[in-house]
Amino acid sequence: MVDIVIAGYARSPFHFANKGALAKVRPDDLVAQVIKGLVHKTGIEGKAIEAVFMGCAFPEGEQGLNVARLAVFLADLPQSVGGATINHFCGSSMQAIHMAAGAISMGAGDAYICAGIESMTRVPMMGFNPLLNPSLAKEYPAAYISMGETAENVADKYAISRKDQDQFSLNSHLKAAEAQGKGNFKDEIIPVKTPAGDMVDQDGCIRENSTIEGLAELSPAFKEEGNVTAGSSSPLTDGATAVIVCTSDFAKTQGLDVLAKIRSIAVAGCAPEIMGIGPVAATNKAIARAGISLSDLDVIELNEAFASQALACMADLKLDESKINLDGGAIAIGHPLGATGARITGKAAQLLKREKGKFALATQCIGGGQGIATILEAVE
């Protein structure tokens, strides 16, 4: 079987929705700038790209009308490059990577750009027209359960304390702030131009002055007597990501810097009420498919939709905390739904190389009760 690799990763700065520096940037423009930046940075030849697969959790409004194809035009890619938008909620852009890998395995092209976009400012969560199936809502209300509620359910079921959630959240900010200070994000961030002409080149959600006392003061956000707060949840975020998925031969020919090889992939369903635990089953499947064990992992990117679910997954899988989210996670950096999957996969690949490890895992939970996972392997 042909080796499929991640040979390039870039993202926009991530900023708070509504009040952040990217609020006035159209999502299609935002992701196009990132794709263009990635193409420029890596030097990949445009016409050699089969298609752009674009993850988006609410593909409507300014990120609708098959935004992937529109991004091809906006990013000045050749017309020959295809474009397909993929919706798998928070797993959308990791799903894009999986589909590209699958297509390449089928011989359907050598290289794809797998991107993700979400402007949570300009397209609200649930979209503009949430129209639920009344009978499903009645017979199986969990199908539409809110994410905050699932975070509380997971905290309950796995006995995740408020204190542990606050500490985990604080660590995420401290790690991200440190990484930012060290310039660890410099390589991955493509500066974005706003309509006002400003260049945004730094993340906007990281709170370097966050304290455990400050986090402890916050009221529960989703349940009156609950223990999940805004501080232990990922924020509503605007952001875009893109990675290059291609064969190792293609990368060599094009002179691309290979970050990691895709070793295995998986998705798995779970009860929607505890969707945050989704990464457990998906990871177990992906690990089994890779033929390795969890202890073989050197780098782990476990998405932090909520501290409670991240902690529950860590406990269930018995993961080594020192290997997880080395440069901080979504609680600090932000979680633009459709863009996160490609960020944590690209980041895991980048970290695997930086840390000189052998295997990396990128995994996340998905609304509706699912998990998605990717195992990466270092290349010689």
């Binding site: 503009f128 949430p130 129209l131 639920l132 199936n133 809502a137 539409y144 905050g148 009156e224």
Partner: protein, 776 residues
């Protein structure tokens, strides 16, 4: 006549910034200057910070936050050349003649030729300010004295000078009146002008007498407040609001500038207690407290009042002063006659104040009406000093003064047994200082229901509403029930008005009243009684009746213009929604607030809002955005804090008018009605697309989330579910169309169920009892 297209305000303190905000509210761009901020990257930082404060101010200085964009920050060192574009420059800096004059010289260098310059001084005279300044500057210089807060206080005292042309004066008067909504009172160039001259005397007198007579501040505020139509803040709570630290400056400046024979000197002193309070940081509401405070270190908000003799605080009492209760609202004499400590206190304060006010005629003002206007608009008194004297009885008042060997001012002697205001041969008249009555002609463009009432009888009348003839074939529907609430009488008058116009020469209807509030909405007291008696069919009837009346008004073959000011809530907001046009006073506070008492808008409010938002071109496409927005507005009982905000909520349409000056609302509304008369076609009923149950489920799910997080109560969930059924169109589907009648039917069904729900009944009772919504 030239206009005012751009204004500069120099001095970004509380007053300057507030004036700039009101100019921005009028749609005019304004430069806000202050000193350059030294050592800061942005030299306009002081003015910028002031604009930032305006955006956050409460009560809001801006009628809409986006009006802040019309205020441009500047500094007096780098930017004075920008004055070249300004038609009017307002100075609002420190009360120091030297500093002001230095600034005037700089302004004069840069200002546009002929641009008006005015000072917002409250204590200095115009003559002092222009002394020694060049003739051409003096010709364009006025005093324009605003009151704090400039958006809400309607008084503007205007002081001109003999060298100023009429044209300049009229230019500013017109702008202040029409664009800023101010009641302009012309004043002579005397210390404190009119309102503060009387107001400061009154406040000082009330403080000194309370200390002297050992009257508690709670009793003082109660007895000086309601019986005299003075806001319930009375004296001491008002001083807390204004700021205790301001008083010594104002008092000493008055003392320095008033002539030696002025009675003010007799009461001028600075009580030790006040000095101590200020020194200890008790400067009023902006400080640690003042005469009243919230008990420090106490988690419960316990209000405390100071003992004027000891300076100690104790829990504030709600004084039950017999005479205040007996006197009610319109019988101040009863209080003044009363031989209790409260009565004696009231007499000592109010007799001195009213005598002082009367003594100012004719030297300080030769216009009795202007004196009354100044106190009404500048101090929110319901009645001016001379109106109060009419209520008290001038003859009785003078007799009592004489019995105390107090000099009776000339104007009181002249009016003798008469009154200062009277109606004569269809005209309202006022006593002139030269001993004759003068006809009171409203200003051009001002139409007062009072004038119409003075010269005519109502076309129709019942206990809650009347119909007046505004001439030119326009009728005016006036509510006059308690708080102008809507009941069967008002509905009946709406029907009768419609029938009258349909069958006569009349051509249009204006709905308007002179009250503080247009209407607080349907009388829920009726609903409460009906629920108690299990008379639910009556409630169902009221709902259907209101729907039929409003619907008939909407489709009537003549135009209806509603002209609200103040509150227009619930059923009154629904009336605005059914009108052909709205001519709103800028200070209109409106919204559909029914959910607060556990019901939904049942007189077509849900229907009208849904249709408006669905058909609006700026609503995002699809079946849900309009539904979600209206669900939010009604479900959260949102109230617009200005007519501009009501426009954002689509209660007032883009083509509806907003009148800044309260006194001009009726005339503007009549004019609008007449515009609509020619070629009038009633609207046609519309049909809209709604999502049906698929949309309802999404809304209900969101509310359930709020309940779980403690943001919604169990009964909120019930009321919201009823609302979501209506707004999503019931059992419709997005392929079908929903008619207005279908929406009305859904409103009736929801109301029918909700009004029988015990938690709704409890909400209604609670609101009637406490005035606050119950969160059950």
């Amino acid at each position: 006549m030239k206009g005012i297209d751009k204004v500069a305000v120099i001095g970004a303190g509380v007053m300057g910034a507030g004036i700039a905000a009101q100019i921005a509210n009028a749609g005019v761009s304004v430069l806000l200057f202050d000193r350059p901020s030294e050592g800061k990257e942005d030299r306009n930082q002081i003015a910028k910070d002031a604009i930032g404060k305006l955006i956050k101010s409460n009560p809001a200085a801006l009628m809409n936050k986006r009006n802040a964009k019309r205020i441009i920050s500047a500094n007096t060192e780098d930017d004075l050349r920008l004055l070249a574009d300004c038609d009017w420059v307002i100075e609002a800096i420190i009360e120091d003649v030297g500093i002001k004059q230095t600034l005037y010289k700089k302004i004069d260098k840069f200002r546009k030729k002929g641009a008006v310059v005015s000072s917002n001084t409250s204590t200095l005279c115009r003559e002092q300010l222009v002394a020694g300044l060049p003739e051409n500057f003096r010709r364009d210089f006025l005093i324009t004295h605003f009151f704090n807060p400039p958006r809400y206080m309607r008084l503007l005292e205007l002081v001109s000078g003999s060298e100023v042309s009429d044209e300049q004066c009229k230019l500013i008067e017109r702008f202040c009146d029409r664009s800023l909504g101010k009641g302009v009172v012309h004043c002579k160039d005397t210390p404190g002008f009119l309102a503060n001259r009387i107001g400061i005397f009154w406040l000082q007198c009330a403080v000194v007498e309370a200390i002297k007579q050992n009257v508690s501040i709670e009793v003082a505020d109660a007895v000086i407040g309601r019986p005299f139509g003075i806001p319930k803040t009375g004296v001491f709570a008002l001083l807390d609001m204004v700021g205790l630290d301001l008083m010594p400056h104002v008092l000493s400046s008055m003392s320095e500038s008033l002539p030696p024979e002025d009675p003010f000197h007799g009461i001028y002193q600075e009580p030790e207690l006040i000095k101590t309070l200020i020194a200890d940081g008790y400067t009023g509401r902006k400080g640690k407290g003042g005469f009243y405070r919230l008990r420090p270190d106490s988690p419960d908000k316990i209000k405390e009042a100071i003992d004027l003799n000891t300076g100690d605080y104790a829990k504030a009492e709600r004084p039950s002063v017999d005479i205040v209760k007996k006197a009610g609202r319109k019988n101040p004499r009863k209080v003044l006659e009363d031989d209790s400590s409260a009565g004696r206190y009231a007499w000592s304060v109010m007799s001195k104040t009213l005598t002082y006010a009367a003594s100012l005629v004719p030297d300080v003002s030769d216009n009795i009406e202007a004196v009354d206007e100044a106190m009404k608009l500048g101090y929110n008194w319901k009645y001016g000093p001379f109106e109060l004297l009419d209520q008290i009885g001038v003859e009785w008042f003078c007799a009592k003064l004489r019995s105390e060997k107090t000099d009776v001012p000339l104007v009181l002697k002249s009016v003798g047994k008469g009154k200062f205001y009277r109606k004569s041969k269809g005209f309202r008249e006022v006593f002139g200082h030269e001993g004759q009555y003068l006809k009171r002609y409203p200003n051009a463009g001002v139409l007062k229901l009072d004038d119409i009432k003075a010269r005519s009888k109502p076309v129709m009348r019942n206990p809650s509403a009347s119909l007046w003839d505004l001439d030119d074939d326009v009728l005016c529907l006036e509510f006059h029930s308690k708080m102008n609430s809507l009941n069967l009488w008002t509905l009946s008058m709406m029907d009768r008005a419609r029938e009258k116009i349909e069958t006569s020469e009349y051509k249009a209807l204006v709905v308007y009243n002179d009250g503080t509030n247009f209407s607080v909405g349907a009388n829920i007291g009726l609903m409460s009684v009906a629920a108690r008696l299990w008379a639910y069919p009556f409630i169902d009837y009221m709902v259907r009746r209101g729907q039929e009346t409003y619907k008939a008004l909407k489709f009537a073959p003549f135009p209806i213009v509603s002209a609200p000011s103040g509150l227009a809530l619930g059923g009154a907001c629904e009336l605005l929604l059914h009108s052909d046009a709205v001519q709103a006073h800028a200070e209109t506070y409106t919204g559909l607030v029914e959910v607060g008492v556990g019901i939904i808008p049942g007189w077509g409010g849900c229907k009208e809002m849904m249709c408006r938002w669905s058909l609006a071109s700026d609503t995002p496409r699809g079946p849900m955005p309009a539904v979600s927005k209206v669900f939010e507005l009604i479900g959260l009982a949102e109230v617009a804090k200005s007519a501009e905000e009501a426009r954002d909520m689509k209660i007032i349409r883009a083509e509806d008018g907003i009148t800044m000056n309260r006194d001009r609302v009726l005339a503007d509304a009549k004019e609008r009605a007449l515009e609509l008369v020619s070629g009038y076609r009633p609207p046609t009923a519309v049909e809209i697309t709604l999502p049906g149950e698929s949309g309802k489920v999404a809304l209900d799910l969101a509310v359930e989330g709020f309940r779980k997080s403690g943001k919604a109560t169990p009964h909120d969930v019930v009321v919201s579910a009823a609302l979501s059924t209506i707004l999503s169109g019931g059992n419709t589907d997005m392929t079908g169309k929903v008619s207005e009648d279908k929406l009305l039917q859904l409103e009736r069904e929801a109301f029918h169920t909700l009004c029988r729900h015990p938690d709704t009944v409890e909400r209604v009772h609670h609101m009637l009892k406490t005035g606050q919504p119950l969160r059950n």
